[in-house]
């Protein structure tokens, strides 16, 4: 008897909710970025779970999750570069002080 699909999905949902709440409430931009990584990771869990227990089980879900991991790594690198450029110009990494388009 193996763990049912819905257990993995609920686990991924909880991880996604933790990441979403952190991304919405944290002030430090690095933490917001890493919360987005956590949300992407929860989606990867879903992909791999469906590759084992989905309608058409097969290796495809794992290949998809590998591509997602690649895109997430590229996104983290570019996000960090933007963050460092922002810090050099504005001397802040607090996300609520980056509001020059609101003024």
């Amino acid at each position: 008897m193996s763990v049912p699909l819905s257990a993995y999905l609920v686990f991924a949902l909880l991880l996604f909710c933790i990441g979403l709440y952190g991304a919405l409430t944290k002030r430090n931009t690095v933490i917001v970025l890493i919360c987005i990584e956590l949300m992407l990771n929860a989606v990867n869990v879903n992909l791999v779970a469906f590759s084992k227990y989905g309608v058409n089980p097969g290796i495809t879900g794992q290949v998809f999750s590998l591509f997602t991991i690649t895109v997430a790594a590229a996104e983290a690198a570019v996000g960090l570069a933007i963050l460092i450029a922002l810090y050099r110009n504005r001397k802040t990494i607090h996300i609520d002080e980056v509001d020059s388009m609101k003024r």
């Binding site: 193996s2 919405l24 409430t25 944290k26 430090n28 690095v30 989905g54």
Partner: protein, 169 residues
């Protein structure tokens, strides 16, 4: 209760505990270290789902590379003041409400989802299967991924390097 259940519950508990710690800790570096636990136990979940290669990639990329690059980001910027969110409690309450509402709706949707089918043989020669799939069916996305990584590399260097005009002034 089989061993698979026990492993799943332990790994899920560690992963969610790392996430909760990340939300509640005060120092930014501690938050990142708490998330390392989450990433490593997600790799364990991948092993349970017979995806050994993805588990190894997860350990390499997430708990290795992305954690280190985020620590670099923290060290290169000002991190003395804590990462505590001091926004208005109303905004926090709205964020919590929205997240809980989203979680509840999704939970109702996936609570009893079960397709009744289970893949067999994903775990034997897992890396070979992934390699055959990538190089026979997904060649073009694979090449596009390499182009994307190159673009991200060059773009990150250009974004983060010092502006010559500003340095001259």
């Amino acid at each position: 209760m089989s061993g698979q259940y026990i492993a799943f519950f332990v790994l899920a508990l560690i992963a969610l505990g790392g996430g909760i710690f990340m939300l509640n800790l005060n120092k930014v570096v501690h938050m990142v270290v708490a998330l390392v636990f989450t990433f490593v136990s997600i790799a364990g979940i991948y092993v349970l789902l017979s995806a050994e290669f993805v588990a190894a990639v997860q350990v390499l990329i997430y708990s290795g590379a992305i954690t280190i690059i985020m620590l670099f980001g923290i060290m290169l910027t000002r991190h003395q003041d804590d990462g505590q969110s001091t926004g208005s409690p109303l905004r926090k309450a709205f964020a919590l409400l929205g997240t809980v509402a989203f979680g509840a709706v999704m939970y109702i949707g996936i609570r009893t989802l079960d397709f009744g089918s289970e893949a067999v043989g994903l775990h034997d020669k897992n890396t070979e299967q992934i390699g055959i799939a990538i190089y026979s069916k997904y060649v073009i996305p694979f090449e596009l991924a390499s182009v994307l990584l190159l673009v991200a590399l060059i773009g990150a260097v250009i974004l983060a390097k010092k502006d010559d005009k500003e340095a001259g002034e």
